[in-house]
Symmetry: C2
Subunit: 366 residues, 2 copies
C-alpha cells in the first residue's frame, strides 16, 4: 500500500485541494503559440480553425494532459449535458431497470446522469430536486413521490427545466410522462382470479396512505391508483360487495410479510392476492409458506412485474410484465428531445403490459 497526503500543501488558492493546478486552455494556447480563443475553438471543436493550427493545439493539449473543464463550459453555454433522475429507491429492481434504460439513451445522446433516491417521500424528493437544479441539470426524469402534491414538480417547471415523469403521472403539471397501462393490467390480472372463482381477493401495495383505503379517495401514486381502480372495478363486476375493503395499502410500514399474513389467515381470509410488485409477491410467497398455505391450492397469487425469479419458484408465479427498461428509455428520449428544444404539446405515453400466465392461480378451496 502506498503513502498518501505527503504533498498536501496547496500552491494555488483555488483548485481541487490536491496541490496540482489543472491545465487550462490558456496553458495549451501558450504552448501552441496561439490565442486562447483559437485554442478553445480547436479544443472545443467549434468555430473555424485551420487544420494546421488545430493539429498544433491538439498536440500541445495532449502533451500537457489537458482535460476540459465541463463546469466552466456549462457556465458560459448554459448546457451541462447532465440530466437528473429521481427514483424511489435504486435498490428496487423496477427503478434499477428503468434507470438503466434511461442511462443508455442519455449516454448515447451525450448526457450524464445524477441519481437521487427519494424513498418515496416528498421531502427528500424536494431536497434532491433542489440540488439537481442547483447543479443546473439540463432536465429531469422523475418518478414522483406524489401524484397529488405537485409542488416539487412545479419547482422544476418554474425553474424552466424540462421534466419528464415516469411510472406515475401528475395532474396539472406541464410535463411529458411515460407510464404503463396499469388499469388494464390490473383488470386482466384480477379477472384471472375472479374467473377462477375467487371472491375474497386482496390487493397489496406498499404505497404510503393514511388510514385504510376508501372508495374514491385520491392516492399518492397514480400507478397504484390505476391498479386499485382496475382491481375494484373487476371485483364489482364480479358482484363482489365492497371491493375497496380488499385494498391493503401502507404495507411497508407494517412489514409486507406481516400484512400478508393478516390478510391470508383468519375467518375472512383472502383466497387470492394481487401483489402490486415483485417484492410484495415475494413477501406473500413467504407469508403463505410461514402459515402453511400452499400456492395455488390454498392461495392464488398474481403480481406485477416479471422479476427473473418469478418463473423459478414452485409454483411459478403468474405476472403482469411491464416494459420497465423501455419506460426509462422512452422517458429519457422525450427528455432529450425537450432539451434539444422540441416545443410540441406535452404527451403521456402509455406502454402496454403483458400477461404471463404461469402456475400460481387455481380455484379457491370450498
Amino acid at each position: 500500500m502506498g503513502e498518501h497526503g505527503s504533498e498536501h500543501a496547496s500552491s494555488n488558492t483555488h483548485g481541487n485541494g490536491n496541490g496540482r493546478r489543472e491545465v487550462t486552455v490558456s496553458d495549451v494556447a501558450a504552448a501552441a503559440r496561439v490565442s486562447k480563443a483559437t485554442a478553445a475553438r480547436a479544443l472545443g471543436d467549434y468555430g473555424a480553425v485551420s487544420d494546421s493550427v488545430r493539429e498544433r493545439v491538439q498536440r500541445a493539449a495532449e502533451e500537457l494532459g489537458y482535460r476540459a473543464n465541463a463546469l466552466a463550459r456549462t457556465m458560459t453555454t448554459g448546457r451541462s449535458n447532465t440530466i437528473g433522475i429521481v427514483v424511489g429507491d435504486i435498490e428496487n429492481p423496477f427503478f434499477a431497470q428503468a434507470t438503466r434504460g434511461a442511462a443508455d439513451i442519455a449516454d448515447t445522446a451525450g448526457f450524464d446522469l445524477i441519481l437521487s433516491n427519494s424513498d418515496e417521500e416528498t421531502e427528500s424528493e424536494a431536497k434532491a430536486i433542489g440540488v439537481q437544479l442547483a447543479k443546473r441539470v439540463d432536465g429531469l426524469l422523475v418518478a414522483p413521490a406524489s401524484s397529488v402534491d405537485i409542488r416539487n414538480l412545479r419547482t422544476i417547471v418554474d425553474a424552466g427545466r424540462p421534466l419528464v415523469l415516469f411510472d406515475r403521472v401528475a395532474e396539472g403539471i406541464e410535463a411529458d410522462a411515460v407510464i404503463a397501462a396499469n388499469r388494464t393490467g390490473a383488470r386482466k390480472l384480477t379477472g384471472l382470479l375472479t374467473s377462477a372463482g375467487h371472491r375474497r381477493i386482496a390487493f397489496i401495495s406498499t404505497l404510503l396512505h393514511t388510514d385504510g383505503y376508501r372508495s374514491g379517495e385520491v392516492l399518492g401514486s397514480s400507478s397504484v391508483a390505476e391498479r386499485v381502480a382496475g382491481f375494484t372495478t373487476t371485483l364489482a363486476e364480479a358482484g363482489i360487495p365492497r371491493p375497496e375493503a380488499w385494498v391493503r395499502l401502507n404495507a411497508r410500514a407494517d412489514g409486507v410479510e406481516r400484512a400478508a399474513v393478516e390478510l391470508i389467515t383468519g375467518p375472512d381470509a383472502a383466497t387470492a392476492v394481487v401483489a402490486s410488485d415483485s417484492r410484495i409477491a415475494l413477501a406473500v410467497f413467504r407469508a403463505a409458506r410461514s402459515v402453511g398455505l400452499r400456492i395455488p391450492e390454498d392461495l392464488s397469487l398474481v403480481a406485477f412485474d416479471d422479476a427473473d425469479w418469478t418463473g423459478l419458484t414452485t409454483p411459478s408465479i403468474t405476472v403482469m410484465s411491464q416494459p420497465i427498461h423501455e419506460i426509462g428509455a422512452e422517458a429519457a428520449r422525450l427528455l432529450v428531445r425537450r432539451i434539444r428544444g422540441d416545443g410540441g404539446p406535452f404527451v403521456t405515453k402509455v406502454l402496454d403490459q403483458r400477461l404471463i400466465e404461469r402456475e400460481s392461480v387455481a380455484p379457491p378451496r370450498l
Copy 2:
C-alpha cells in the same frame, strides 16, 4: 395537456435556453441594498454577516426565487460536492445495492452521485471516467472493469482525484479499496460440496476471459480471481485432479444457461455447481430444470450473494452472503474521508462473507 415552446425566444445570450434569466447574487444584493459580497455571504452561509442584513438578504432571495448556482460555486471553490460512481451495470442487483449504500453515505455527507455503467468494458469505463473528471467530481468510486489493466484508474489518480475501489482491487494503484473475503468464501462454499462427496464440481462466472482458464493465469476481476483460487485450492485439497479444468469463465458471451447445460450434461457432467453470483445461480437453476435434473438429488448448487429469492425456490439455495450494502457504504465513507483531506496510508478493507446453508446441497448420485 398543456402547450410548450411558445416562449422559446431567448433574450439573453447565455442561460439555459428557456428564455428565463436565472436570479443571481447580484440581483439579490441589489434588492436587499447590500453589496454582492455581503449578499453572497448571507446566502452561502460563510463569512460574517449581521443578523439584520442576513435576514434582509434572505427575504430578498426568497422573493426573487433565488437558487444558488452550484457550478459557479464549484468554479471558485474547487469543490463540486459530487462524487462519481462507476459500476458494471446498475441493473445487476449487486451494483444496485452497493450504489444505494454509497448514495446514503454520500447524501449524508452532502455529496451527489453521478452514475455510469461500464458494462465491465475498459473502453466505456474510460469514457465514463473521462466525463466525470471533466465534471470535476470530488472523487470516484469504481468497481474496476479490470484489476489488471489499471490505466483508467491511473487517469484518475494522475488527475489528483481521490479514488476508492469496491468489489475488486487493483495492484499498483494508489487507492483505498473495499472488498469481500472472496477466497475464504469460495473455500467454504466449495468445501460444502467436496464434503458431500462431489468430485466433479464446476465454477461458473460471467467474467470475460479469452480462451479457457489455465492455472496461474491472471484474471480481469480480482474478486473472481479470489473465488477461483479458493475453489481450485479446495478441489486440490480434496485430491481432485486438474481443478482448473472445472473453471468456466466467459459464460455471458455464450449465454449462462447454455453454458450451464453443457456443464451439467454429458458423460463427464458436473454433479455440483458453484455459481459466482445470484444471476448465474438463476440460470443454472433454469438449466437444471430444462434438462430434467433435480436439485439437489441430481445436481447440487451453491452460489454467491443472498438474493432475496434464493430462500424461496424449491429447494432453497445455499449461498455465501456478502454485505453488499456495506461494501458500497464503506467505500463511500473512505472516499469522503479522502476528499476531506485525510492523508493516511491507503487501506484495503476486507469484509466477511456469511454462509447461509439451505437445501440445495446433497451427496452426488452414484
